[in-house]
Amino acid sequence: MNKIFETPLYPYERHPDQNADTPVRRKVVIVGAGPIGLAAAIDLAQQGIEAIILDDNDKVSFGSRAICFAKRPLEILDRLGAGKQMVEKGVKWDVGKVFFDNRKVYEFNLLPEDGHEFPAFINLQQYYFEDHLVRRAHELQTDGAPIEIRGNNKVLKVEDKGDHTLLHIDTPDGPYDLEADWLLACDGAGSPIRGMLGLDFVGRVFEDNFLIADVIMDADFPTERWFWFDPPFNRGQSALLHKQPDGVWRIDLQLGWDIDKEEEKKPENVIPRLKEMLGEDVQFDLEWVSIYTFQCRRMEKFRQGRVIFAGDAAHQVSPFGARGANSGVQDTDNLVWKLKLVIDGKAPESLLDTYDIERIHGADENILNSSRSTDFITPKSEMSRVLRDAVLDLSEHYEFARPLVNSGRLSVPCTYDGSPLNSADALDGPERTRPGSPCPDVPLKDGYLLPKLADKFTLLTIDADAPDEIEEDGITVTRLALSVHDDPTRFLKERYLGDATSGVYLIRPDQHVAARRPSFDEKLFRAAIRRATGKE
């Protein structure tokens, strides 16, 4: 058993707030020290905004849970000062194999595109992910940033007070009250905060159970994602094998709907199943076993006045495609710069409504993709199984059927097409960098592009003139002047200019494109800045 599960990383300590006669008011209170709550707090604290995390325990996640992290979240984590450490610890993989019955029907290679600092995916246990973020939070706190994680602080009740929220919190020393200008609910799919506020969480229930077993073994399976449809060792169901750091393997076995969960979880039932899958001779230890069911659903609105929901608390998807934690990190990336501008009085509160618009767009995309994967993996009718099996049979012999095989369409970042923060696309440039897109990375002579675009509005000019700085109604935009001559790999031209000879991009603090034109036009870019900050 991994020690990290049992180690209190942020043990309860009595806080002076608990002694106050009247509740102390805090800027941003975050409920939940999971991946999303931690990412939100670090992002806020790095920008100088007070962020207090309340967590009902004092440890990282029990068991591996989310294990697959995609490029865009890693780039965001790099902005938060933790991305590179996670890549170093994580397992990188590119090859996936698909098996049907007892034969391999095809294999794919993610063929990661060149010219990016971060890999397409890494596998890393959620407990390591959280551990890295907890350490980063403590590092910031030591450096004097306004961040705290209060362990064993359980929220019992929330009251909407209009311009703030009142929280009743239980601790080992008894209860206390705290006021929050802004409350971020990052408290997971079962969100107690959502329940306390009586908010809906509707969607589609999938009537299926999956057994997760994390197994420690010295096996010579390659570092690949193996997915089985209808294998001999789990007839009529699916199975997944995927490697994690430290010799831990994730095994996922579909069990069907009518099962006795407590029985199935017992080692005497789990071990024979695994032996059948891995072979009698393979030695392994069970690290963690769990049975999960899932739903695809989201809240109607992620923002309810001064309470804002992020991650699984706001939206839940099936695990196929790595769209849970990955999309939650993108939620906080989208939210935090907006919240900072609103708190600093530099943007109207209505800017926060665009968090709803943009991230609901992202959540709907994820729910659509993960529902389709689930329908392929677990056919819901006789004919959908016949069609699914036909796809798998054909995929063994004919290339055309392979793109139809859906064992999880892996998470890609969302482009905020149609967002009210976007200005009309005025550059005849590449599709992938149209307004609303996350900026793709580019290797430059002195390092990568993305770190140069972090945490502020940037005017990226490529072979175009512009002022070094523009100030528009409290928003400072700093120019980053590049030229295709600084572009030894030609990726800058390929990703940002295409056939155009010059380009000027307005880029948001979350590294998404807000506007682009072939050259600088002061009036139009000032309008684009106002638009990107919710002022027109």
């Binding site: 004919m383 016949v386 069609l387 099996d389 036909a390 049979d393 055309f400 059927a401 139809l404």
Partner: protein, 68 residues
């Protein structure tokens, strides 16, 4: 202009094709026939490729069912 679905007679040697289609199912169980049909639909759909044509084909097949 995008392609549209042909619903006018278009099969070369229609009777021969129909006989081949029946013959392909000879000796197959119901489950095997269903699987064959599913594979055939997917192969033909890929050959057509155009989304507009496929959408019209799905609608044309559904209309037949609604009239039955």
């Amino acid at each position: 202009m995008s392609e549209t679905l042909t619903l006018a007679p278009n099969l070369e040697q229609a009777d021969d094709f129909y006989a081949d289609l029946l013959a392909a199912h000879d000796g197959l169980s119901k489950a095997e026939s269903d699987a064959f049909n599913a594979r055939l639909v997917l192969i033909l759909a890929n050959h057509i490729g155009a989304r507009t044509v496929l959408t019209e084909a799905l609608a044309a097949a559904a209309r037949q069912q609604a009239e039955d």
